[in-house]
Structures are given as C-alpha cells and as structure tokens.
Assembly symmetry: C2
Homo-oligomer: 413 residues x 2
Amino acid sequence: MGIVVQKYGGTSVGSLEKIRNVARKVAQRYKNGDRIAVVLSAMAGETDRLITLANELSANPDSREMDVLISTGEQVSVSLLAMALRDLGVPARSLLAHQISIRTDNTHTKARIIDVGVETIKKVFDAGEVAVVAGFQGITLENDITTLGRGGSDTSAVALAAVLGADVCEIYTDVDGVYTCDPNICDKARRLDKISYDEMLEMASLGAKVLQTRSVEFAKKYNVPILVKSTFSDNGGTLTIKEDEDMEKEVVSGITYDRNEAKITLLGVQDRPGVAATIFTGLAEKNINVDMIIQNVSPDGKFADLSFTVTKTDFNKAMEIVREKAPQLGAREVTGDTSIAKISIVGVGMRSHAGVASRMFEALSCVGINIMMISTSEIKVSCVIDEKFVELGVRQLHETFELDKPGSNFGKD
Amino acid sequence: MGIVVQKYGGTSVGSLEKIRNVARKVAQRYKNGDRIAVVLSAMAGETDRLITLANELSANPDSREMDVLISTGEQVSVSLLAMALRDLGVPARSLLAHQISIRTDNTHTKARIIDVGVETIKKVFDAGEVAVVAGFQGITLENDITTLGRGGSDTSAVALAAVLGADVCEIYTDVDGVYTCDPNICDKARRLDKISYDEMLEMASLGAKVLQTRSVEFAKKYNVPILVKSTFSDNGGTLTIKEDEDMEKEVVSGITYDRNEAKITLLGVQDRPGVAATIFTGLAEKNINVDMIIQNVSPDGKFADLSFTVTKTDFNKAMEIVREKAPQLGAREVTGDTSIAKISIVGVGMRSHAGVASRMFEALSCVGINIMMISTSEIKVSCVIDEKFVELGVRQLHETFELDKPGSNFGKD
C-alpha cells in the first residue's frame, strides 16, 4: 500500500473508449490498495480546438481569458474519467485547481506553480476515493484561472506527488519510455531503464518532448521518482531518479534535437556596456526566453555582432522588439534565420571525461555538417546547425557514441 | 447611469459572429456609463453535446461529475465574450460561480441558489470593467460545482440583479417578448408590454418557455424588474414587474400549454391515511416533482383511484417507484399515459371575476375536447387534455377570451 500519482496525457484520454481503458488501469491499481491521484490532460485535440476558437474570434485574445477558455479541456476529461471509474465500482471524485488550491503566479498561459494544497486530496483519500485531478491548470491568489503551458500536466502531477509524498509519479504517454534518441529518426535508438534528474532535465529542455522541463525540476527538488510508461502496454518504462553511486554513469546517455529554434543576429552594434541588457530586458519583458547567445567583437574592438536563438514560436515577436531597439544600439543590420535546429548530447559521465565535445564536433564535420553556435553545460553539449541536417546529425552522433549498446560508450573505458 | 444585468441565452451566443454581436450591444450600453454584469448561457447545442458525451460513456453518469462536465459550456462562452469586448476597447472580465461565490444547495443538476456574493463584482465595477458572468452554475459550501437546471441562467441573472440592486434585469433571447400564447400555434398571438410577477410565474411554470420559473420567484421576492427582449432586434420587449393599481388587470393575460406531462393512475387503492404520503414521499426522495393530483373515492368509501401527473422526462422513473409501492397500498392496477398535455389560462383579473373557469370548460367542450384533470389557483386554470388537441385548444381559448385585442377581455366590462 502506498501513495501513487498517475498522469495520463491527451492521447491516452483521446476518446471515450480510451477513457474507459484508463479507468480500467486505475481500477486495477485501486484494488491493490494504493491511494491514487490521477492527473489528466485534455482529450487529444481539445486544447488546440479551443485555441483556434479564440484565434478565430480575436486577433489578440486576452491571455487571462485564454486560460479560462482552455482550462475547460481538463475539466471535461476529469469529469468523464470520474464517471467511468464509478461505473467500475471505484469511488472517484474530480478536482479542479481551485478546489485543491493549486496556486500559481500570474503569468497567464505559462504560469508557475508556487504552492499546492493537500487538505482536499487527503480528505478524498481518507474517504477511500480516487482523486481525479485536472492537470495544466492553476489559480492565482486573486482566484484567477491560469494554465501551465504545453505539457503543464506533467508538472501538475509531479507537484502533487511532491506534496503528497508519493512513492512514485507515473507518467503514462504514447511512448514506452525515454530513448537514447528519437526512434522516428534513428532505428538504433535504445530505451533507457534509468536516467538521472540532471540528464532528464537536459533532455527535456533540449527538445525531447517526453516531459515538461519544469516537472523534472520539481521532481529533482523534491526527490520524486518519475516513471515514464506507455498507456497502451504493460512493458518497458524509464525511471528518472536521483543520481547515485550505483548508477551506471554513461558518458553520453542520449542525443536530442529541437527544430523549434530560430536565430536573430544584430550586425555591428556598438561594443559598450548595456547593449545586451537593452535587448534581453526587452525580450524578457514580453516573456520571450532566449536560449544561446554569441557575441563576436570586431578587430578594432569598437563593434560587435550579436547572435542569439529564440523559439520559432516567439521569432516574429522577438524580431519586432529587436528591430525597435536596434537604432539606439547603432546596429547596422538585423537578420533572422528560422531554418536552424539544435542538436545536443547529454550525459552525466561528461563531468569526468574530457574530449567529449571535440569528438562531437569531429563527428559532425565528418559528414559535412557546419556548426553555427555552440553551448555547453556540465553534462551536455549543444550545437546549432542547419535544420536540414538534423536526421543525419542525430544518426551520426548515435553511432559515434555507440548508444545502441547498453553500458558501452565512447571514452568510457 | 445605473446598474444593469443583461442575460443572453444560448442562441444569442451560438456562434463567434453572434458573440461579436452581443459584444457590440454590451459595448454600446457600457459607453452610456452603465455598470453592467452580463450573464451568459453556453453556446447553443454545447450543453446537449456534453450531456450526450456523458451518456455515451456511462449508462448512469454520476450527477456531481455531470455538473463538472456541463458547467464548462458557460466557461467557454464567458471567456470568448470577454475577449470580444476587449477587442472593442471595453475592459471586461469573465467570472465563474466559484469566483463570485454563487452558493447553492447540493442538489446536483437542479440546484437552488442560496446566496450570491457581491464583493467580486463590485470590485470589477469599481475598476470600470464589465463583469461577464457564467450563468447556470453554482458552487456548494464544500466547493463542489452545481448547475441550476434547464434555463438556470435566467435565475443566475435575476439573483445577481437582486444582490446588486440592479435597476433592471434584461433577458435577451430569440423572441421579442412574452405573448398571449405561442405564436407558432396561433397567428393571432399578441405581445404583452407588461405582465405581473404572479402571471409570469404561472406562465413560466405552466410551460411558456421564456423564463425559468425560479428566476421569476427571485424577481418577485426582491422586486427586480425583468425585461424580456430579442437579441436580434431593438424593438418590442415585455416588462415583468410588481402588480400595481395602475396596471391593467386583464381577466386572462395568456394561454399556455405544456406537452411535457404524463399521467400515472393507481386503481383501487385502499382509502386510508398515509396512502398518498407513501407514494409522494417516494417520488420526492428521487427529486420527481408531481404536478396535479386527483383522487376519486368509490361509492362505498373503501377504495379510491389516485391519478397524478409528472413530466414525461420523469415518467419511467416514477412508474418504477409507483409499481414498487403499489402492492403495499393494495392497488389493483397501475396505468400510465404519456400522450397528454396541459393547457392553461392565466390572469390576475380572475381574482375579481367569477365564471372564468366555466367559460374555459365550455369553450373546450364546444370543439369536442375532453378534460381529464383540472387544477386551479387564484390566477390560473389548467386542464389536462389529450395531447393531440393542444393546438386546437389554444386557438379556441385565445379567441374565446379575445386575447388578440389589447385591453379587451371576456367578462371584463
């Protein structure tokens, strides 16, 4: 007997038949004697349908109202699952963000959780019921509805698991775990049984779409084990846990890529203090995240070329802001490039192995791929390349670091 | 400058174009300087779509979860209208039942409002904003979502108007007012400019589908003037107000009918105390409303035939309960009839005019309509007749009481 948080994504509850299937899985677990909180996304396609409705109505829909609108998707799925569970004789109760008190900040459409109440769910558990919780949504201190951004239900689930002290947070999705790279691109991709929070964090933020980055941050902070599994099969699964001595420390655990990148370059800006601040404060004010930044100073030290990347989604808004600021920085020209992608290698073993980055650059140049920007952390190396070379690059790196063979890795021996 | 509550029904917000139309009407009023709370129903067809979804999932959907599900319809429409208003430069804010604190009892799917908070809306008014309120929904003391039954948004609007001390509660719908009878049945139907709460109450409860009965009770109790108007035209309208000396007291103001009636008869029940209680307590426990009741005692005074009507919707459930109780009452037989309807005349003038009922019976018998049951109140007479005679009966009564001529009425002179 334990406390389990399960999260089912949109494809897992995409039809009434699939909702019944989820109900059967939850019922089975319930009958084992576990206390279960189930977190749901909206039925597949529903959030997009609602966003389209808003965009057809308004050129610039108010973000507070957008959250009121799109949070209905999860309200529908939780009520339906609670009905389906009751049909199976499992007492269940749907709960919305305001009923649980999932408090967030005021950043509509990408809010961050600041606190989660436990009283309501504990009462539901004490009554012997399954708590069916609407993911993705939160509520501000002023009782306004917020949403947590794409994939936000992952974060709802992990946050709930953290406050409930759950034994595990199970994320059910349409893939059976985390792979060494995208199996759609590379047929040698191998499922990982275990991965550390830090690696998963890098994988998530670098574009492996299995978990929302924020959910992994939460899991790491509160030490919540996350098990990623398929809704449609009992096999497989990848466990994300704290890195420990026993853990096999792969030099490179996975290759990721992200096509949702765009590059903006300011040519010939004056090289004086405050230039970067002017640009990046302007972007931050509009909630635009900047990923990589590179600055080259001219030989005479007076002018610099400044390049940075944002998501393709934010590209137009970012270009507008940069064009507006460019004159006061003396920039000669502003250019943009949306045909780029980011390709990365991730692995905790990099901490203790030199030469991993250069091996990556070599491998890419071997097949004629030019590297435009580079960024590194303790456990990852990312390169911006031409978008058309993504598949080639991923396969080349997968082979170079021998990721198809468990336990064997370049430079490890 | 005043406080106005406007309510728009499902057909008024049935498409994005219609929502933009409502936004224009609200904007115009806002620019006059009024403080406006707009109450909305779900977009036409949405509530039914959600109910169908639940019924496809489950043979007997849990009523608490049904309310969580169907209350999303209003959440969608209020968010969209708030967006549309902002596009017109009108600051607006959607508000749900839990944000306002529209408290109800726990009777899911037909809850009754017990209290409405004013703080939130007053804050919205003080900020110079339009409050766009989700109708139909409420919240229990335990923070469970409830809904108020078909037409519940009318009651939301009137309750809000009452607590806000609004000058008027305007109900916008697809007809331009309250008529002497259904214009679809009788082409001589005439729109009423004014009607008293008591008459409107009888009209509403007798089947004229313009307003939810409960909303008129609220309006009468708190003396809120209700103006029923068309969303799609600036003309017409019927004002429901307190009966006063100046008011023209029509003997008969309107003819109504209700096809949603079914009759259940217990033959030969023992005529002893407690028989009626056994039956009607059983029905009340299942939230089944009984309308008319008739009991005929046999010549020897030992046995009675008991007939009563319920809605067609409740008929099957009611038959089940009655069949179960019948043996202990010694009933010989239980019969049911779903091909009946109720036809009624309503008018405050009846209080001071004799002979109105008999004139009604005469008029119906004149065209060969048999009367199965009769019930009267101070200001109405209702007859249960064969459903197939509804149109004929309505037209006959309309002519008998000369309702096509304003101010002129049978027996008035």
